[in-house]
Amino acid sequence: MKLSSDNPFKKETELATDTQIEAVIAPTGSLQRSASLVRVKEGFIRTILLACAGVSILTTIGIIFVLFSNAVYDVAPDRIGADGKVKPNEAFFQIVSPVEFLTETRWTPQYAEKHFGILPLVCGTLMISGIAAMIGIPVGLCSAVYLSEYATPRARSIIKPVLEVLAGIPTVVYGYFALVFVTPYLLKPLIQDVLGFDVGVFNAASAGIVVGIMIIPMISSLSEDVLRSVPRSLREAAYALGSTRFDVSTKVVVPAALSGIIASFLLAIARAIGETMAVTIAAGQTAVVTGNPFESVATMTSYIVNVSLGDTELGSIEEKSIYAVGLTLFMMTLAMNIISQFVLRRFREVYN
């Protein structure tokens, strides 16, 4: 009798003979190149996949090109007008100086006396994004913490789909929700009747509130992902030191995931800045530099919509101005995205 069969802790390993092994793993197939038809098929699949990946890259390049050629420098050759005169194709910044664009405080391309200062539009955009952030960030973060740290699997299975529904509502619906519910039934009674501030039919606050609601699902699902990726061992260590669930969430898990959470905030704010439909409907069209959230403001996006929908003459300075505004918007959201990528990378470094 062998010792190992007596001892339950020793692994019984029957050593297979070489011939047995050979029978199983010996190479049988030939090493010749596969038939050419198979190779063509492989190459075809590869090309299709690459093309799909290429679509988004080409689109981005195309958009950047259109923005630049209309806003910064027009590459198209000069045209000869019907009257025989040379009409130079000029981009927006070849006509309006970037200094005026950045420092002037009036934005009146549609009036007789034209001023091209982007500040009122940036101001409107930032005010609405700011209000949206004040609502979306705390609510989104709290729901992320709830889902990741507190919710039972059952509660999660109910709340997650609800958040997804919220994310799927068309933004135009949010816009009308602001216009026909938030302003008349929330802001007017509270702010106007109780506190005594005038609330306009169109106002930044109602737009900010609905955009804030709009970004909650985004913040909550992105933040929840990073919270859940905090290793379980870290939570256990914290519990073993006498932490309550609240201690574990606020003092260990959230700080450990902080850069990922901030990245989710930045992405959501970028979304709020670019939000168009709800803002166009709810905030109105008054390009002013103001600190009052209860009056009408214009944002970069809502200006672009209005010029696009109006009967603006093609090639006019008005038409060109939307590219300059679009470029500004593009730069702002791009910056937010780059910063959030950078922050996220730092988060990953902590655990890898």
């Binding site: 010792l3 870290l234 006498g242 260990v252 700080p255």
Partner: protein, 297 residues
């Protein structure tokens, strides 16, 4: 093979196979001391019981993994839990500070008594319990904070705000965990930058900072290199003077070096408990003997 050469294997083969198998088994099993047993591997007889379990059964869902475990853990000593992988050592250890509570679907029957009080009784505050019964894990788990903040974490969640007092605790804990000299000049640096062995001693220091009386350690040195392991073992050996320690280990040599009592688990059953020296030199149960010798025979 060239048959003209005198192959040593040819000479040995017949003798080995002709030897009676029973004799061979005897020879492997009889001298039971596979590990060196230091003099410290025994208990003073009058040691009081700190923690004990009574008829403890434990279940993950419907899967029972502990069967009727009754074990007394004497105070100010090291108790080693040994046994093959999956036999329930970690599960048992985690019942002692109710860490299993945070896993969904677990339940138990039987009692776990800390100084005679049932820790699963409804009036027990599990947060306070875990301060008294600290735990160190296999994988070191420093928080991504500074060294100082890691150690101060426990006292802080317990409500201590006094800066000077916190600094005192941090220093005392690090000294006790034999880490102070290595980190005293960089307390504000990230704990993640420490070496594996230092991180594990940091985790021990962090546990000491909550001022526990019992420390549970689940394979605390299994991820460390030999030098760091030796340091952690020395530390555990020192700590037993002030704390009651329960340690899970797969390393018999380590169990012999650091513990005074050893408990052998097999498939969820506590097979044998005894003073380390006796359990290793003269096990009562056949299964214990097989396990100890199987590893090192």
């Amino acid at each position: 093979m060239n048959t003209t050469l005198n192959d040593p294997m040819d000479e040995l083969a017949p003798t080995t196979s002709s030897e009676p198998a029973t004799e061979k088994t005897e020879r492997f099993v009889k001298p039971v001391a596979p590990v060196e047993i230091p003099e410290t591997a025994s208990l003073s007889v009058d040691a009081a019981t700190k923690v004990c379990t009574r008829n403890l059964d434990f279940y993950y869902g419907n899967n029972q993994v502990l069967f009727d475990v009754s074990l007394d853990i004497p105070e100010k000593s090291v108790t080693a839990l040994i046994g093959p992988s999956g036999c329930g050592k970690s599960t048992f250890l985690r019942t002692l500070n109710r860490m299993n509570d945070i896993i969904e679907g677990t339940r138990h029957t039987g009692e776990v008594l800390l100084e005679g009080t049932d820790i699963y009784a409804s009036e027990i505050d599990v947060v306070l319990l875990r301060k008294r019964v600290g735990m160190v894990f296999q994988k070191s788990t420093p928080f991504p904070k500074s060294i100082f903040e890691n150690i101060a974490y426990g006292p802080k969640v317990a409500g201590l705000r006094n800066k000077a007092r916190l600094a005192e605790i941090v220093e005392a804990s690090l000294k006790r965990a034999a880490l102070w000299d290595e980190v005293k000049d960089r307390l504000q640096d990230s704990a993640m930058a420490l070496s594996g062995g230092q991180q594990q001693r940091l985790c021990i220091a962090r546990t000491l900072a909550t001022n526990p009386d019992v420390i549970l350690m689940d394979e605390p040195a299994s991820a460390l290199d030999p030098a760091s392991t030796a340091r952690v073992e020395d530390l555990i050996f020192e700590l037993r003077k002030n704390y009651t320690i329960v340690i899970v280990t797969h390393n018999m040599q380590q169990a012999a070096r650091v513990s005074q009592q050893t408990a052998f688990f097999f498939q969820g059953i506590l097979v044998e408990t005894g003073v380390t020296k006796e359990l290793f030199t003269n096990p009562v149960e056949k299964q214990t003997e097989d396990y100890i010798t199987g590893r090192f025979g």
